[in-house]
Symmetry: D3
Subunit: 316 residues, 6 copies
């Protein structure tokens, strides 16, 4: 299979791609055509079906898989596929793993590692809370392992939420080993739960977009609520411990202007915010560098608010 990121003007295309989005549009002359976004795991490309009513063009819709035959051109500096034939495929003809961005890390392995950390939690209430989510709640586990951690920005791929959560949890574990004032059980539980609201804030792939609930309530408040409900259902769960755990989730963006309704008041909340911020920035920079075409200066980057430079290829 020829991946979308490897196409160049003049290429012929004859492969199966996912239709991420189809739009019916009209040319200047009033003629109808399809404007389609094709996707595989390496990216997306714009495609046009200029003769939608011709024989070779099946009916198809968003998230269908399409066997595309066409030519690659360049329009306004971007690639475009002129589609001559488009056949809608059936399950079995394609391997979905090739069409959706997916974590480079092994999902099973990451999940096992998370369970291992849960095993080290001493506090029985926190451990029980974690187990009810991550061991016993099948629906939650499925969603959690498939979710991305974002619509764009960083970790925007299948398994991204698990990968980010594990990375933040391990950073927190390192902090707990270095700064003895930290309550490790509270901190690591908060780390594992901090973004669990994202399982409901962003719908699963291939859609991966904000839900109504996500827009109206947001993953921070939803995560706080999920943890609160679970804790209240566990007999004897200390009220104050529940509130501190909820506080860590509410405060994990660190500042009001980043959507946290509380600033961190306890050391564990400060630590969680630092770990979350560290993993977000390191992963964002990593993803930037992975897409670098020419080494050296990459131009102004909005997220880092400065000109970015790629050092890895310097032989220093």
């Amino acid at each position: 299979m020829k991946f979308l990121k490897d196409l160049k003007p003049g290429d012929r295309v004859a492969d199966i791609y996912m239709c991420k989005h189809k739009l019916i549009a009209t040319t200047k002359n009033g003629k109808e055509y399809y404007s389609v976004t094709l996707q595989d795991k390496t990216g997306i490309v714009d495609a046009k079906v200029w003769e939608p009513n011709s024989d070779g063009i099946d009916e198809f819709d968003d998230t269908d898989y399409i066997d595309v035959f066409g030519e690659v051109t360049s329009f306004n500096g971007a690639l475009q596929i002129n589609v001559k034939r488009a056949r809608r495929c059936h399950e079995g003809e394609y391997d979905p793993a090739l069409y959706l961005p997916v974590s480079k890390k092994d999902n099973d392995q990451m999940y096992k590692e998370l369970l291992g950390i849960i095993g080290t939690i001493q506090n029985p209430y926190l451990k029980k809370l974690l187990e009810e989510f991550f061991v016993q709640d099948e629906a939650f586990i499925t969603a959690f392992r498939k979710s991305s951690a974002a619509k764009t920005v960083h970790h925007a791929f299948i398994g991204g939420l698990l990968e980010h959560t594990l990375s933040v949890t391990k950073l927190c574990d390192y902090y707990a080993s270095v700064y003895p004032r930290l309550n490790r059980d509270l901190l690591l539980t908060a780390a594992m739960c901090h973004d669990m609201g994202k399982t409901r804030e962003i719908s699963l792939f291939p859609v991966n977009d904000y839900t109504d609930e996500g827009q109206f309530i947001g993953h921070i408040v939803m995560g706080c609520e999920m943890v609160g409900e679970k804790a209240r259902s566990i007999e004897g769960f200390p009220i104050l411990l529940m509130q501190q755990l909820q506080h860590c989730i509410l405060a994990h963006h660190g500042e009001y202007e980043y959507g946290s309704p509380k600033k961190p008041s306890i050391m564990e909340a400060v630590a969680l915010n630092l770990a979350d911020n560290t993993d977000a920035k390191m992963e964002t920079f990593t993803e930037l560098l992975e897409n670098v075409q020419t080494p050296g200066w990459q131009g102004y980057n909005k997220f880092f608010e400065t000109n970015i430079y790629e050092t890895a290829t310097d032989k220093l």
Copy 2:
């Protein structure tokens, strides 16, 4: 009874006041004394018991009512009562209503007015939700009617939460009559529920201070959660309506930097934020003017970030 706000240097005091706070302190010479804050509904005054171990001084503690005998002096520009005798009173000796700040408006009347507005809500789910809180939940009603709306700033008195809620709801009703795009049922329900989390954020008088839950979670998230739980318990309550109601509560501070985890996305949430802000500013200015000693310029005011001027006494 002689109210605290009417005392002046040289007065003798022989009345019952509430002990808001008692501190055991030591003079430069190492002698122990009590530093006491006395309170009635007109304010607070500092008092000193220089001979705490003498015969006329009973043992007493915070929130006890004390029959005080002493003299008023002026120290560093503030009044101070030198307490000679202090007798701890028993229930029945005093009328608590005289000792706590209380809304000038009639509590029963305001509550009745609120119920009247609930009666005008058309949507059966929203009406049921309101009734379950404001008609059927005795514990909630008691707390709601006694709560202040703040620790300091505006509406910091018994009945303040009810007064503020009613005022915001009526402003919203006026908006709904003027701006027809507003969904009146949604807006007024949100108005009545917007600060209900304060019943748990701030403890009741005489303490009137932030609870742990209030500090860790905050009334915005707690109110959102209270409404969510209630709505989920009502059969058939539309999910989207619940989310919009919760959104109004989450967004009612209007800006992230004021502690709202969401900015208003629907017109009703914008309206609620405007009504809340309007009532807060009008009441704050009213309370400022009530305490004015000399007309004209009042000096720089932190809340309004400028020099404040009292116009009421100008005969213009």
Copy 3:
């Protein structure tokens, strides 16, 4: 007449529209053509005259009314009219009311309502000031009733200034009935005068653009000056009252960064700022919703700084 908002690609056009703006441009091949903005009360559309020197094309200029014959196409996602014939019309051939955006509310009715409120002002000096503007000054009344309240944003239509002023005044009247510390006469007078500088800041339709004076001085300072001159011309007008009235106008944007050279120092100025802000936000949201094509999420809105959602069509 076929309104511009109803055009779609492929339509033929044969109606009179106003020429809002005409530009003489040159094609890549060096050929001259006209790029024209046509307007009616429902909006504007881009039009091209590719053969400006052909027989069917009259000479015409900005704000002329043109009888247009042509075809509608779509270019870069926007409509465009290719004009074949363009005849310049004479007064009498068209009804100007169809070509300019105009308040949905009846102008006479609104004006009468404003006069009614002036009749309720008790203070003789304030009443006289209002009457000299709104009853006796014909030129002012004409401009005031025709002005928009803005170039874009909210109330950007004929009668918009009157509609906004009336709405703010009535909000202030509601405040005065609820918050007894407010000086109703001062507040309502300030409300009626707060944007009168806009009669000179923005030129009348069809131009509706900033004047030199508007850009150099601005409606806030101009309104302050207009009120000051008028008050000084009324014998016995109390100086302090004039200054407070001017202060309300200067401070009505509430914050320095919104162009107010003073922050509100008196309760009436705070109230006026709240009413102005409330009406601006409610009207802006209303205009947004009026233009909604598909219900639900509308995307990021700059003015409200968040994603906007249309609730009216939810059947909840």
Copy 4:
């Protein structure tokens, strides 16, 4: 005469000082006394009259001149005069120049210099406007020459407004000689008028405090209005020139958050803002250094937002 800045604990005082402010206060024991602020041109000192009803104490009030006999002590690190005798003086007994802060520069000389610059203005309308203010309007000239440029901060002394205005005007003249795009006549006229509103914003010495008009309207808008009225009274004064002159005054603080309702739109307004800012900062730093007690680091300074260092005494 012994100046206040030279007093030290233990000194006897037997000289005439101005009473800037007198307050009747009460001791802890309920005894009345006077708390008085004495002033001469070198500063102010706190004084107490513990026996206000004794024979040697005349009745006196704010801005009276008092022949004081007493002793200097130190209280909480500040000097205090215990007044034994206080005789109210009559005009002629004292030289007012010794009691009020006054510019170090010669007032006549500065005024003459300003008139000289007016003589160089070419535009007849601007020249006439300046002459009507600075040559013909006796009341204005008197106020302008006596005013301070501020209540505190910089140029807070008699003649300060003239000194600051002259300095800004000469800076602008230098700019005009270096940057040929500047319209010298417009710029220098704006410079001479930019703070003329201060003659009404701050009352004259010895009070030197904000007036009602100053607080409600502010010197920026008042200056704009003064210039506008004058220009409109001069036959043939070009409207656009008047607006540009007013714009320079409105925009001379440079930023909305510093109270300018307009940002500078023309090069002359930008230049005036730069000159005003330059003279303000240079004079503020100069006044700081004049009060330096020990060379080197002076501690954090609010105005400059950093630790200030005195370089003048370094022998480098």
Copy 5:
């Protein structure tokens, strides 16, 4: 020679221009072409070589001088040259001074003026430091005289750094004559050195782009280091004087957010910041006005954050 700023659609071009940048691109049909930016001292123009492999098209590269034959068209509102023939020229065929933006002021004259000011410095250490840079260091002098003061914004032309430095130095000299607390030697030395790091931050013309060192370290820190090294190499140079000089350079942007790692702590640093800011704003506005096509309002300007108006052409 026909300058680029004078071209209009339909013109034929037959002159030598510099190739600022050449890009090999591909048409929609997959055909290769050159997209070239041509430059002369009056500006830049886009050019296309549609037949790069035809006989008349030499091989050429960035900064080569090209004898171009072609036609001027207009594309998307901008000029474009369709190049038919392109011959690479040899040194001697063209006058480089015609192809690079260059200060309007005489470079020798400005340099001589700078040396004249160095001659007036009294402090022997500062004088020696200046002479070692500006009199003895040939490489530095060459770079300093050729450098621009910016990549874009103001003074972005050959000689711009010298012109800006001289202008700032003379402003400082004026300040020193007016504000006697300023140490003229320190201030003028700092002024002459303040931007010397730009000789290394921005490469010389025709490239005139940020260097690696410029991006990683920046001219502020580089200038501080250059001055420090030089001072340490001069025997007896007072340490404190060196630090104050370095401080002036580090603090000359005035605020942290403009990239200064220190805020001005001494009066000379405050003065240098004011002079730098004044010259930058005056020159930026001057360059804006030089490019004005139609008088009056110029639209919103990002740098001045407001709508800009051109006054020079008003006959007032």
Copy 6:
């Protein structure tokens, strides 16, 4: 020895303390006395010598060690020692380690650990640079190991700079193991050098205050310069590597407003900023908790901008 933190009103004092600061002051009655700040490693206490000329009071000065005899009282809520006798001690009478705040961690052990990490650096130039500082430069090593990392805030004790540097370096090592895009050699070298300018910015204990150089230049620029000089002295040190190392130091505060003249452009600079920020916040919170008197809520904390809560003592 009785430590200062354990004193309470009424205690007698008869021990040796360090005089951190002595001030000669005057009572209200004009009598001279000494106001002294005594220090040991547990804190500081105010002391007064009311009879400085009496027999038992030796002459002494800042940083002298004094054998104090006196009584502890409470004044305005703070402890105060009334000193009856004060004998100046000679070296040998006291153990300096008891009088200065010192890291709880073993200095030799930390230094050894740092050397161990240097041993793991692969790049020969970076390794050589580190060794020349941390292994060969005795004066630097001594200063580095004794310095605090701050005047107040966090790590304000002997060894604080070493402790902070080691902690940041180890955090960076953890990052390098988790985020493979990071250049470990560059990152760890930058971490070890990032605050080395503090050896010159803050003088050693017991003074521990900003130096002139520290105030004028700052540790960020000084550290950049130290690293630059060293790198240039090492033959063959790659220029680009040096610039990237300097960039990491310049950018390690992350934002302009925190005094960094560059924002992080390379991933290593981002990582260093995160590690520095993490260690600063964790250590600051740790030091806060160490000083907690009563568990639970600690009141508003300026650094964390919220109310702080101590979790460690909760038995959850």
